[in-house]
Symmetry: D2
Subunit: 134 residues, 4 copies
Amino acid sequence: MAVFSQGVDVSFGDCDPAGIVFYPNYFRWMDATFHRLLSERAGGHAQLCRQLEAKGIGLMEARLSFRSPATEGQHLDYRITQIEWGGRSLVVSYEADVAGRRVLDGMERRGVFVMSDGHMSAANVEGLKLALGF
Amino acid sequence: MAVFSQGVDVSFGDCDPAGIVFYPNYFRWMDATFHRLLSERAGGHAQLCRQLEAKGIGLMEARLSFRSPATEGQHLDYRITQIEWGGRSLVVSYEADVAGRRVLDGMERRGVFVMSDGHMSAANVEGLKLALGF
Amino acid sequence: MAVFSQGVDVSFGDCDPAGIVFYPNYFRWMDATFHRLLSERAGGHAQLCRQLEAKGIGLMEARLSFRSPATEGQHLDYRITQIEWGGRSLVVSYEADVAGRRVLDGMERRGVFVMSDGHMSAANVEGLKLALGF
Amino acid sequence: MAVFSQGVDVSFGDCDPAGIVFYPNYFRWMDATFHRLLSERAGGHAQLCRQLEAKGIGLMEARLSFRSPATEGQHLDYRITQIEWGGRSLVVSYEADVAGRRVLDGMERRGVFVMSDGHMSAANVEGLKLALGF
């Protein structure tokens, strides 16, 4: 069961000369799915940063495995399947389907970045976890 | 009254360091709105090209006037307000609002491009007009 | 004679299923050409905003006319051909060629946006003109 | 020592409201670095596909680890550090620096996709290896 999901309509301009989605767009939609979760649960990235006194909820790592292609006019169901809360990072797992056919699965490792003593560092993610209701 | 409209959710990654939508994204969504019309009325760009024996329904000109900014988490109502059918081109007029506030208006001039005698040229747009039910 | 120019290498992923550049990318490169001018003449957008006490040097209007297509592997020479300095806006004219063949021409109208009395407005552009050495 | 490298100038519009590169752009530039290698060694993706009777040299997996941020006006040195040639896939390793500071490292697993008996499958990559002079 998904933690969160959103639909993505694949448009002509999202596809490359091979006629299938240009793969960086899948990362763009992965990020957008996470940010949609932030919006719905906690008013969005900007408000969360103020609340957590953070500079950003940014990326440490991102990975996707491409199982089958998607093309113009298809509708992706892009899902967050799990969030694993570590000390100073969280791992968000994703998968996306077109009409029940798996298109991709992957993950993002994110941190809550704060400034302290003039340098950026990854803070404890407990505040984010609470703010999102997990 | 709009000819066609679709919703666009502005995501964090659509915005620039000034915190507002990076303007080429407005052109991307303008194109996506047109392609969504093609999908709903005639099965999409690929099917229309086969039907019209065309290489593409491409751009001759595109223009947007930016009336007010949009930002992360806002929902755009992106509308086609009019299509003017000329001989060898069509002019598609657009506007987009956030919650009733005008964000932009503009236009695309498009042609139906075909190959004849080894060179690309703009064909009569009557076939496209009929295929889209105008 | 160009005021400023930069090269752009068209990559596979910049092109659409018709095999030619997806047109919003031409706007992205137009914006990048302007920002490259800001970098070379005045240290970039962020530094200029501090210097001019502005929120951004943003868009009021953008337009491109597409003269011929460009495709994967081609090298665009993207040029600013003229800047017209008005009172509260500037009009930047552009053209781009591939190997001497015209691909596009167009313009951006930009303003220097400042906050005053809690609302955003377009300031006089004289400070920007001086900062860029025009 | 790098197998191949290219420079990328980070523009204002490549960055997000946190003022740093929006991460899907790093994947876009990773793909562009690979395609630049194809262009320089074998005339580009389209020509290679004709030569290898392939539909595309596409992605099976992509991953990036983000070591430090990059921002507007910085110059990335984006490098292919290694290519491991398997039977039906190749693993391309990447890293990118700004002025000697590591920004990211990661990989793409790619295949040479062909149609046979009406379905797409990953072919032996030996032909690609030879075409690229490895």
